[in-house]
Amino acid sequence: MASVGTSTPETTATLFSPNRVRRRTLRGVLAAAWKLRLSVAGATVLILLILMAIFAPLLTPYTTNEGSIRNRLQPPVWQEGGTWSHPLGTDGIGRDYATRLLYGARVALAVGLLATLISGVIGVFFGVIAGYFGGKIDTLISTLVNIMLTFPFILLALCIIAVLGSSFTNVVFVLGIGAWPIYTRVMKFEVERIKSLEYMSAARVIGLRNSRMIWRHVMPNLVNTIIVLGTVQVARLIIAEAFLSYLGLGIQPPTPTWGQMLQESIAFSFTWSDIWLPTLPGLAIFITTLSINFVGDGLRDLIDPRERAVL
């Protein structure tokens, strides 16, 4: 009984991984960190971003919506005329650009994380059910997944957001509802693979109930894949949120978002000296998604080096 009950991820996939032993020593960890230096850098940037987002009110003397029209379009500090009182300049109605970018990070990260959480829970649930039970349930779920994956995600999101109206909760909801099929598809195949493993037959033979089989023996083996998939999805959903905001269909003013700032900047950037206006919010999105993707890459390498080229 005990030998069956202690089945963890270690007992299946990783047991045969050549990296298993090496990773356990300190030198191994350091060597891995060096190999994964991009991911380490990505993680560092990401943690900084999260801290900046959380402590935004402490980092800036301004609020997101105060500003005087007389101060409008001050250039950032590295350009002629820029001052340290507004290190990243001011926008078209004189609001501090750095402050708005900081608070924009809050929205982007919160939406990305929450929407990923929602879609992850729904997607994994359906995927496990479809993969574990198969049959008609599988056919039904797979058909739904096919329908959703066939069609451009962004168009569905746009349609639904038009129904619900744009607010923080609705954007999170729409992205969460739209992004789950990818988990289901991946999870289904993973569960089918796990189900065919020997220890699963052993567990079945000793008469474990389905719920226990799923929680104790299937789910632990899915955690790695879920984490890798989820990481990449956060980046994808941050971009989707930014695009909705850019179209004016995302989170509404006065809450500042990067997409909205990008949209607003268009009206003011027609010369070389104004190009920082659209550059900065886009760069904020890009740096965030890039560091998330680096982290995701590293996780994938750590978990399964073979999968690197696939996803």
Partner: protein, 309 residues
């Protein structure tokens, strides 16, 4: 093969019906069509008479069946805004979208195939690393921002290319095409490169490649005749399956460049609550996507007999 095709056709039918149900339900939830069609000051009685005349008071299921019967005949009703048939409006926009997506796919494959071959063949070399940087950058890039920057740099400041729009047929059209094509190509190239790379890595480790090398064939022949040929089929399959995602990228690109394709039409119609047009766009795109997926499957089935189950 026959059973396979029938099976796929049934799947295609289910997907299209599913999407049409989703869009029908969603657009009917957006708001009361009566509010969109009649001026706000219309008295209540007149609204109800109008609702009755238009059949908006019937159960949603009945309305859907009615909609589906008309849709099969290509009739999605008239646009609430211009009163022209929605199908015509969508089909008019189709060439622009096809021009954009096809040219972007060409650009993406022209970049991705050589990159994928080199990075797989010279694994862990500087080329492989540069390619990886390209891929990671591409996947993290918000393409609407890239588009905006290109417009500001090449369109507004340098004035080399038109910043947006469609242009007249001919050279003007091509000039207008370059920036959106580059953006959408950049959206598609990373995925394609990864597919080519992993396929080539896989192929190069196969026995037949070793045999070919042992026979003394030149590396060029081994690479292109043996390895690449076996890599291309899965690449085509996945690209075909991702046609929907490509259209998603086209929606974004079109909205940035005011490229008058179906994607821009979709966004406009959603914004204006022009339900017949939204429904027509979504269903016609679903048919197009399913058709592309099916044709890719069938072409690959013909090319690769192992797939015909």
């Amino acid at each position: 093969m026959g059973a396979y095709v029938v099976n796929r056709l049934i799947q295609m039918f289910v997907v299209i019906v599913g999407i049409s149900v989703i869009v029908f339900v969603i657009t009917n939830m957006i708001g009361d069509p009566v509010n969109v069609l009649l001026p706000p000051e219309t008295p209540y009685e007149q609204r109800e008479i109008f609702r009755e005349q238009m059949g908006f008071n019937r159960p949603l299921v009945v309305q859907y069946l009615d909609f589906a019967v008309d849709a099969v005949r290509g009739d999605f009703g008239n646009s609430f805004r211009t009163a022209r048939p929605a199908t015509t409006i969508v089909l008019e926009r189709m060439p622009a979208t096809l021009l954009l997506t096809v040219s972007a796919t060409l650009v993406a494959t022209l970049i991705a195939i050589p990159m994928g071959i080199i990075s797989a063949y010279k694994r862990h070399s500087i080329w492989d690393n540069l390619t990886t940087i390209f891929v990671v950058t591409g996947q993290a890039m918000p393409i609407f921002w890239l588009g905006l920057l290109l417009i500001i740099i090449f369109g507004v400041n340098l004035k080399w290319l038109p910043p947006s729009g469609y242009g007249d047929f001919g050279i003007e059209r091509l000039k207008h095409l370059i920036l959106p094509m580059a953006v959408l190509g950049f959206f598609l190239a990373p995925v394609t490169e990864r597919l080519v790379r992993s396929g080539m890595l896989d192929a190069l480790s196969q026995d037949y490649v070793r045999t070919a090398r042992a026979k003394g064939l030149s590396e060029r022949i081994v690479l292109f005749r043996h390895a690449l040929r076996n890599t291309i089929i899965p690449v085509i399959t996945v690209l075909g399956l991702q046609f929907g995602q490509l259209l998603g990228g086209a929606v974004i690109t079109e909205s940035v460049f005011a490229w008058p394709g179906v994607g821009l039409l979709a966004i406009d119609s959603i914004r204006n609550s022009d339900f017949p047009v939204t429904q027509a766009v979504v269903v016609i795109l679903a048919v197009l996507i399913s058709f592309v997926n099916l044709s890719v499957d069938l072409i690959v089935g013909v090319l690769d007999p192992r797939i015909r189950r």
